[in-house]
């Protein structure tokens, strides 16, 4: 199933430099220009005993989990949109609209629908859950999964799932230059807005990654 572009040799000359050598680019931090003492200073600057929630989860939300089942089982499961009805906290009742698009409900918020598209790439075992509350024209809530074989990665059988998403500006109420199909539903006062829970996204994804792990491990062990 894995057919990446791997075979070499790669060509040093084919690296697109646009005629600009790396040594001519300002601000690079490399061993040619920086000694071990400078590196250690930089490492101390970036390595901290603790990090604020904003530092860790301000712009990006990463979750990772080991799952005790074969990686192709995990990938196939996540690639089927209906898995969302099982492992998410509150996405339910998906129906196919056509063109790869599904419509379901978000039970976490009052009278809220969610549109979803699942892009799955078997070669790299990537699955993208691309979605949006309220409308299906612009799928700006984007959840990116990668399923890794745990054997070369962690020296044990199973799967590592990486799950990342980025803070699109629509999450943020203070961003006002948005289309009306965002502004109007965001202004509803009878429910929360998905962006209001951005600080809790890691928590929600941790809950849901735990669910995903439990479902796959239980079915693999007990079927």
């Amino acid at each position: 199933m894995t057919t990446p572009n791997t075979m070499g040799p790669a060509s040093r000359a084919a690296l697109a430099t646009n005629g600009i050598a790396a040594t001519g680019i300002p601000g690079l931090f490399t061993s040619e220009d920086q000694g071990l003492d400078q590196l250690k200073t930089k490492l101390r600057e970036y390595t901290k005993p603790s990090y604020s929630g904003e530092e860790v989860f301000g712009q990006f939300c990463h979750t990772a989990e080991f799952i005790g089942c074969p990686v192709d089982m995990a990938f196939e499961y996540a690639a089927n949109v209906y898995c969302l009805e099982e492992f998410t906290f509150s996405l339910r009742n998906f129906n196919y609209m056509g063109g790869g698009l599904y419509k379901g409900i978000e039970a976490l918020a009052k009278e809220t629908v969610i549109y979803m598209r699942v892009d799955a790439y078997p070669d790299s075992r990537v699955v993208d859950h691309l979605c949006a509350w309220d409308q299906g024209e612009e799928l700006w809530m984007r959840y990116h999964f990668r399923f890794l074989d745990a054997m070369p990665t962690l020296r044990r059988p199973g799967t590592v799932v990486l799950w990342s998403n980025c803070k699109h500006p629509y999450y943020d109420r203070s961003v006002t230059d948005v289309p009306s199909y965002i502004a109007q539903p965001r202004d509803r006062t009878d429910r929360l807005w998905v962006g209001d829970i951005w600080p809790n996204f890691y928590a929600i994804h941790k809950i849901e990654a735990d669910n995903l792990k439990k479902i796959l491990e239980y079915r693999f062990a007990n079927a």
Copy 2:
């Protein structure tokens, strides 16, 4: 270039449940069983004002960065092994060994070679840099990149790069059940061991992600 498995409809019946309904799996945390109060309690438990370095970077190391260049330019660059000679702090002088494998030097450590394989998946824009110090039989140091189009992701032109790696047990000197091709070079006293700097991996990757960003942005803006 993007040809995922996307078109529906997916089949609810095709979701592999192995005859076990999700409702029969113990320990799931879902809206059917948990009210908003229980959810809020759980969110408070998982959402903290700060996180220790061990909590954030103990088992996984995630880096993410916006890059102001087209996503296919970033992907193509990272897919060419010779990019490593430019954006990493200290990997240099790669030569092709055959079979997709390259051998270079790790200037950060005394008399240390690194073996590298680059797997690139154009459809999902995934690039894996799979490598190991000292030997090329088992590439256990594995760096996973994903290049995302920033327009649907962050509503701006450019690229988001996600970069993750996992803490393989070979990094950890306290794991003693390892092959001799790990144990012997790990025991060398004339240099550091790559695992000794695991707590600094985020810092190193932040330095290198900054380099990657600067290289691509400078060349895109100035060519």
